[in-house]
Amino acid sequence: MAKRPISNVTLSNRKWALGYTIAGALLFLIYQFLLPWNGLPDGIYRGVYQWMPPAAVNESLVYVIMALGLNIVVGYAGLLDLGYVAFWAIGGYCAGWFMSEFFYFLNIHFFGSVGLDRPGIHINFWMVLIIGGFVCALFGVLIGAPTLRLKSDYLALVTLGFGEIIPQVFFNGENFFGFNISNGTKGIVIVDPIPVGVKNLGPFDFGWKLLIFILLAAVMVFISLRLRRGRLGRAWLAIREDELAASMMGVPLMRTKLASYAVGAFAGGLGGVAFATHVNGVYAERFNFAISIFLLAMVVLGGMGNVWGVILGAFVLSWVNGTGLVAFGKTFNSQFGTNIDFASFTFLLFGLVLILMMLFRREGFLPESRLKLVLNEDELDTASEAKKAKK
C-alpha cells in the first residue's frame, strides 16, 4: 500500500501537539511539585499565587475543554450556537447526580470513591465522565433535532433560548413535576473525589486535577483533529462553505449537523463533569448566559476552526477574566497608590479587544489556514491592485 505523504497541516499539528505536551507537563510539574516545595523562595510562591493560582489554572482548562467542544459546532460546522452553557450545566448535574449523596434515598455504588455505607449514587468518576459526555450528546441531538432546521441568525436565537431554558430548569429544579432534580439555588454540594488508583483526589489536589484536565483537553484535541480529517469533518466544512451545494453532493444536512452538535455537546459534558469536581459542587447560578458568549469569544478570538488557537484563546481569556485583571489591578494600585477597581473593567476590556481584533486580526490569534485566506482577501486584492497600478 502506498504511503501517504505527510501534509503540512499534519506537520504543524505535530509541532503544536508537542508544544502542548511540554506546556502541560511544565504546568503539572510546577503545581504538583514546585509549589509545595519547602525550599521555594517566598517571593516566587506568592507571585505564582497572585498571578496564576492553581484554582484559576484548573478553571482555565475547564474552559479550554468547553471551548474545544464549541469549536466543533461553530468553527467546523459553522453553526452559531449561543446556548452552549446548557451542555455545561447538564454535564455538571450528571456529576452532581451520579457522584454525590444528592439522591440520599438510594444507595448505588459502582467503583465509587467513597465508602459503601454512604447513601446516594456513587459511580466512578471516569465512568461519570463518559456518562456525562453521552447524556450531553443525547441532549445535543434532542435540542438540535428541532432547531437545526433553522438557518444562521434564527438558529442562533433558538440556541440562545435553550441556553436560557436549561439552566433555568435546574435553577428552579427543586420541584420539577414533583421531583427534586437539582436542589435549586442551594445546589448540589460535595461531589465525590476523583479516584486515580492509588488515592482519591480531594478538593485541594490541584496538581493532579490539572493533569487530568490537561489530558481531557488533549482527548478533545485528538478527537477534533481526527474527525476533521475524516469523512465527517469534510462534510462539516462543506456545510460551512455552502449548505446547498453540500446537500446536492449527497451530504445529509440534518444528520451531519446533528453529529456536530452531538460531538460538541460531548465535550460540554466532559467540561461540565470536570468543572463539578473542580468546584466540588454544582450550582445553578454559575451557568449563566454570559458563559455562552464568553466561550464563543474564546473560539472566535483564538481562531475559529483551529484547535490550538481555541486552546490559547480559552486559556488567555479565562485567565484574564479570572485572575489576570485582578492581579494586575492589585499590582498597579500598590505601585502607584491609586485605588482603581480594575476587575470592573472586564467588559470594557473585552469589548475593546473584540473591536481591535475585528479591525486588525479578524481571523483570530491563531487562525485556521483556510480562513486566513478568505478573511484577508479584500486586503490582498487591494494590495495586488495597488501593485498593478504602480506598474
Binding site: M1, A2, R4, S7, F222, I223, R226, L227, R229, G230, R231, L232, G233, R234, A235, L237, A238, E241, D242, L244, A245, A246, S247, M248, M249, G250, V251, P252, L253, A259, V263, R370, L371, L373, V374
Partner: protein, 256 residues
Amino acid sequence: MTNVLEAKDVSVAFGGLLAVNSVDFNIPEQSVVSLIGPNGAGKTTFFNVLTGLYKPSAGSIQFNGRDITDLPPHKIASIGIARTFQNIRLFGLMTAQENLLVAMHSHLKSGITSTILRTPKQRREELAAEAKAQEILDFVGIGKWTHEFARNLSYGDQRRLEVARALALDPKILLLDEPTAGMNPQESQVFVDFVRRLVKERDLSVMLIEHDMKVVMSVSERITVLDQGEKIAEGSPEQIKNNPRVVEAYLGKAKS
C-alpha cells in the same frame, strides 16, 4: 433504448406562478439531451425539481424505475443524479481533492468512532477514495491541482472541478447548468468533445441547459424547448432548428 429517468406531467408552482407546467421529460441511457428556452422559461427550475431541491406540485419522477419524487436532495444525489451549478458553487476553502471527497460522502462508510480510532478499514477506505478522486481529476484534466484550494483555480478549471465533483458521486445522470457560460468558441469546442467522452467512458447520460446554440446543436441527441414553463417542442437538432414555434419563442412572432 431504455430511459434512466422519466418525468411525467411535472408541474411546479410558486404561489400563483406556474414555473413549470405539466412537462414530460425522459432521459435515455447513455445519451446527451438538452433543455433550451428563453430566459425565465423554467429550465433551472426543472433542474431543481429533478435534483429534489424543489418538490413538484404535480407529477412524478422515476429514476431507474424507482419513484424519487419525494426523496430529499442528498438521497437523490447519492443514488445517481449529479449536477453542476449555473454560477459555480464549489467549496472554495477546500482543496480540489476534498471537494471530490465530499461528493463521495454517501459512498463512504466510516463513522465517528472508526474515524477517531483510524481503523485499518477506515484508512483503506480513505486511500481508495483519494485514489479515485485523483483518477477523476486526471480525467477532467486538472490532476495537477489536487491540493490546491478550489477558490484559487482559474475560472475554466473551477468549471472542470465542478464536473469532477459531480462525477465523484458516480452518477448515472449528469445535469450541467450552462456549462459553457463564459467560455470562448475554442473552449466550447473542447467542452463538446469532453461531453462526448464523458458519455462514452463513464457510462452516463448528460442533460444540458445551454444557451450556446452551436454547442447544443452539435452535442445533443435530443433537444427539448421550454417557454414560459411549457414544453413547446422536442426532437432532434434538425427538427428543432426548423420548428416555427421555437423560432417564435426566441425571436417573436413574424408580422403577418
